[in-house]
């Protein structure tokens, strides 16, 4: 039973395209996150949602739009993909008030050509 799952695992696409990554958690957590990990393994938060409400919105281009249809799902839509968007994107979740203990998904490896 996967606690935090992401689809797809790999995504290869052309510059300018629009793509979405989906995330689901079955842990009953209220808070979900999106992180970006670059080629040097640096991990940086992009967004967080608590009970479908946007809590954190770091300095991320407007081309990135998260959407939370319910508290178990947090999707990430990316418009007009650029070469610099190539990275591994991780979804994570945590109990409310327990941000230090986050459960990460397996990651989505995005390659923009």
């Amino acid at each position: 039973d996967t606690a935090v799952s992401q689809t797809p695992k790999y995504l290869v696409t052309q510059m300018g395209n629009d793509k979405s990554i989906k995330c689901e958690q079955n842990l009953g957590h209220d808070t979900m996150y999106w992180y970006k990990q670059d080629s040097k393994k640096f991990l940086k938060i992009m967004f967080s949602y608590n009970n479908k409400e946007l809590i954190i919105n770091e300095t991320v281009p407007n081309r990135f739009s998260p959407k939370s249809p319910d508290k178990a799902h947090l999707n990430l839509h990316i418009n007009s993909l650029e070469l610099g968007d190539s990275a591994v994107y991780f979804c994570a979740s945590s109990q409310e008030g327990r941000e230090e203990t986050q459960y990460f998904g397996p990651g989505t490896r995005l390659l923009v050509l």
């Binding site: 040097k40 991990l43 809590i55 230090e100 990651g107």
Partner: protein, 111 residues
């Protein structure tokens, strides 16, 4: 500013030896410090955390030490095993709802 950094990008140890992974942080207002382990091809996994009012905490084969005077955090792994090979991240949480991760140290365990 916000920064959490690790001293060495790579650490190589012999199986059975103890490993010490270090981390320096800059913000003295942090409440929590956390260590995560990321195995190849997987997402980070929580290992252990320590509150800012503590200086030591032990888990199973792991110990985290916090020295607030010099803003230094370390993770000690006893009797390192091949399964410990991974990238280790320190992170800090100031109850702003987000974790700030350091750069990561790759631990290589030699058989």
């Amino acid at each position: 500013g916000e920064s959490v950094g690790l001293h060495l990008p790579t650490l190589s140890v012999q199986e059975g030896d103890n490993s010490i992974i270090n981390c320096a942080y800059s913000n003295s207002a942090s409440d929590y410090f956390i260590w995560y382990k990321q195995e190849s091809g997987k997402g980070p996994q929580f290992i252990i955390d320590i509150r800012s009012n503590m200086d030591k905490r032990q888990g199973q084969r792991v110990t985290v030490l916090l020295n607030k005077t010099v803003k230094h955090l370390s993770l000690q792994i006893a009797a390192t095993q091949p399964g410990d090979s991974a990238v280790y991240f320190c992170a800090e949480n100031r109850h702003t709802g987000k974790l700030i991760f350091g750069q990561g140290t790759t631990l290589q365990v030699k058989p």
